[in-house]
């Protein structure tokens, strides 16, 4: 989006007007159509903040800790199709941001992170609030830049947005020394950018796509397994079309939920460590596997050796060649944008004379239905203590599956993934790769700002939520009416579960002692707090919370301390070696 009038641009260029580095940065953000910058000021970025102050096109959201700025920008990006932007100061600003950058990197979220740096002449002098931002972030960014010359600034920011959003997306850090923000240069924002060293592939190889389709049509026990790439590549519609046309079963990874409608009969649930029995069994026993935008990671296929005990032909579509044949040898690799490849598959399928083997498919579905009848997600619905699954299920019912749901990391995350049925992409926002506790609340802030009218729920636990609890203050400042569902079992639930299963019930340091009174805590921040202790009160509380359109409501659900997440594939075990309830 072009935010500057052509006259203004011509004037700037023609009259030889020079802008300061700080002005240039803000103008670049305007040119990129950036709506929100999440950040926290400090010495090295004062000139940038001064320029932000003088305009109102780019809105700044002041967080309470830089980590939350990154998560909020990340949540904003995940729930939209846009690049998230964060701005932090040098030194501790950068180091605080690193967890957020690494979180975005592991889940391939497009972010541009502007970090302040000490003046160029002070770099390397152990100056106040100096750190090697480019060095510290190098292993967890898609790319990073240190801008030493104000004349390179606009070009570099353009590159940062381009790199962040194209190919396999990811965070890009632009480190700007303070003197570069005061130095002056003519400003022209490049319309286009091309880099000889960076040319992401788009179209898949037509021959490979043809081969893939022929293989798919010959399958007796087909399976379609899709990941975060379908969400990031905006390919949910194309995927749904293909899966429906083929009539094959489909599973999503934790990151891929919403890629295929969860309420559809052809959806067999999430797969992996806490995937459904039917999804994991079908994955293990299929003869042709189509993997789309997924990376066969350790939480998804379990022990690769065990996975390979069953022979199957694997087709793998991914935009990142290094994801292909990394953990699992692939028979038909297709490097390309998933949406383009899926569309081409649909096109070729429509034209194909061959159809899927109806008889084999019928037998395969009856096998899957038999696995399904195991009812692997069952739990005690008559319990007199609140079951965490029950809260998520009720939330899903009451919001009609239309809410944006963020989560933190642990048991509650898995229950959210299992029991909130996502029919649409970009509704489920969680940290899958890095598994960062504390993301839920700041994610929800970013999502709510991107979708002001939508219901945004944060499913969290009493341990995770305390890792970024200070953001309740940010929520007050920007009037973000989040619905926080704290599944409070007084334990780091997933740690406790592993200790119960694998460490002889020795609950080493996993009990959450000295918890705050969350109701009063919420109230102290100016929000509404509720404590819910009985199953019968769950639904009324959720309804009441959703009715309060303008309030952040912190619901503290006192849940069963002993509940575990099932099914579970223990670490190092095969996919079909699940512990079932």
């Amino acid at each position: 989006m072009d935010m500057t009038s052509p006259e203004q641009r011509a004037k700037d260029k023609g009259a030889g007007v020079e802008l300061s580095g700080a002005e240039i940065v803000v103008r670049c953000l305007q040119e990129e159509g950036v709506e929100y910058v999440f950040g926290y000021p400090g010495g090295a970025v004062l000139f940038l903040y001064d320029e932000l102050f003088k305009q109102d096109k780019v809105k700044h959201v002041l967080v309470r800790h830089e980590q939350a700025a990154l998560h909020a920008a990340d949540g904003y990006a995940r729930s939209t199709e846009r690049v998230g932007v964060a701005l932090v100061t040098s030194g501790p600003g950068v180091t605080n941001a690193v967890t957020g950058i690494a979180t975005a990197y592991m889940d391939s979220t497009p972010l541009v992170v502007i970090t302040g740096q000490v003046p160029t002449h002070a770099i390397g002098q152990d100056a106040f609030q100096e750190c090697d931002a480019v060095g510290i972030t190098r292993p967890c960014v898609k790319h990073n830049f240190l801008v030493k010359d104000v004349r390179d600034l606009a070009q570099t920011i353009k590159k940062a947005f381009y790199i962040a959003a194209t190919g396999r997306p990811g965070p890009v850090v632009v480190d700007i020394p303070k003197d570069v923000t005061t130095a002056k240069a003519p400003f022209e924002y490049p319309r286009e950018i091309s880099m000889r060293s960076y040319n992401p592939v788009v179209k898949g190889h037509p021959g490979q796509i043809k081969k893939a389709l022929q293989t798919l049509l010959k399958a007796k026990r087909p399976m379609i397994y899709t990941g975060g790439g379908v969400i990031l590549g905006n390919a949910a519609e194309d995927l749904t079309k293909l899966v429906r046309m083929l009539g094959y079963p489909c599973t999503n990874t934790l990151m891929g939920l919403g890629g295929y409608p969860a309420t559809d009969r052809q959806f067999v649930g999430m797969l992996g460590m806490h995937g459904t029995y039917e999804a994991n069994m079908a994955m293990q026993h299929c003869d042709v596997l189509l993997a789309v935008g997924a990376r066969f990671d350790d939480r998804v296929i379990g022990n690769p050796k065990h996975f390979f005990e069953e022979p199957r032909t694997i087709i793998h579509v991914d935009i990142d060649p290094s994801s292909i044949s990394k953990r699992v040898k692939v028979d038909i690799p297709i490097v390309g944008n998933v949406s383009d490849v899926l569309r081409e598959l649909v096109k070729q399928l429509e034209a194909a004379r061959e159809k899927p083997d109806a008889e084999a498919l019928k037998a395969w579905w009856s096998q899957i239905d038999q696995w399904r009848s195991r009812d692997c997600l069952k739990y005690d619905r008559a319990s007199s203590i609140i079951k965490p699954q029950f809260v998520v299920e009720k939330l899903w019912e009451i919001t009609k599956g239309e809410a944006f749901v963020t989560s933190d990391v642990g048991q509650h995350q898995m229950w959210a993934a299992q029991f909130y049925k996502f029919d649409k992409p970009r509704r489920w926002i969680n940290s899958g790769g890095l598994g960062t506790m504390g993301v839920g609340l700041p994610y929800a802030m970013g999502v709510q700002l991107a979708h002001p009218k939508a219901t945004v729920a944060c499913i969290t636990g009493e341990a995770s939520v305390q890792m970024c609890i200070q953001e309740l203050s940010t929520c007050k400042q920007y009037r973000l009416p989040l619905k926080i569902c704290n599944l409070n079992n007084r334990y780091m639930g997933m740690v406790r579960q592993w200790q119960e299963f694998f460490h002889g019930n020795r609950y080493s340091e996993s009990y959450m002692d000295a918890l705050p009174d969350f109701v009063r805590l919420a109230e102290a921040y100016g929000h509404v707090g509720m404590r819910i202790e009985k199953p019968a009160d769950v639904e009324p509380a959720l309804r009441e919370a959703l009715k309060r359109k303008n309030d952040l409501v912190f619901m503290d659900f006192i849940t069963d301390q002993t509940e575990n997440v099932f099914p579970m594939v223990p670490g190092g075990k095969g996919l079909s070696e699940m512990i079932l309830v």
């Binding site: 190098r138 060293s197 960076y198 990142d320 290094s322 044949s325």
Partner: protein, 163 residues
């Protein structure tokens, strides 16, 4: 297996650490690494000698290609290629050993590039195994210091790596 990987990359600050960091972060081996600008000053040419199974080498080339500063990657071991390494060796050269040392240098087509009354510094170029052979051929106790550049490689014939 040993592989020699050639990389053409942007001659920019930090490009070397991106490559080196990739190898350490992902647990790949580096036997040697050499880098210098090319005739086009905006580009550097790097040669890395590494070891690994075919799967590992495939991942290494894919991961290298993913680095934004990397323009091109080629595994020279995939075809005919030439490797050269430069070594400087300072040796003790006194008494009857002095003559012998000069002779050995000649046999290996080395050149004495610095002389004192007690030492020679010998320059030697060749594939790594030739340099190894020279060090083996002279008496170990005579070696005062060795400096090796690590291998540089180039494809044979028409095989060319350009941006």
């Amino acid at each position: 297996m040993r592989h020699i990987v050639s990389i053409l990359l942007e001659n920019e600050a930090g490009a070397l650490s991106r490559v080196a960091g990739l190898f350490s972060a992902r647990g790949y081996n580096i036997e040697s690494l050499t880098v210098a600008p090319t005739e086009d000053a905006t580009l550097s040419r790097m040669t890395i000698v590494t070891t690994g199974s075919d799967d590992v080498i495939e991942q290494i080339t894919k991961q290298l290609n993913k680095l934004v500063d990397v323009v091109k990657v080629v595994d020279l071991s995939d075809g005919e290629h030439i490797e050269r390494e430069l070594m400087l060796v300072k040796v003790r050269a006194v008494g009857k050993d002095r003559e012998e040392m000069k002779r050995m240098a000649d046999i290996f087509r080395g050149r004495v590039i610095d002389v004192t009354d007690k030492e020679y510094t010998i320059e030697l170029t060749g594939p790594g195994h030739k340099l190894d052979a020279f060090l083996k051929a002279i008496e170990r106790s005579a070696i005062l210091e060795t400096v090796r550049t690590g291998a540089s490689g180039i494809g044979r014939g028409e095989r060319v790596l350009r941006a």
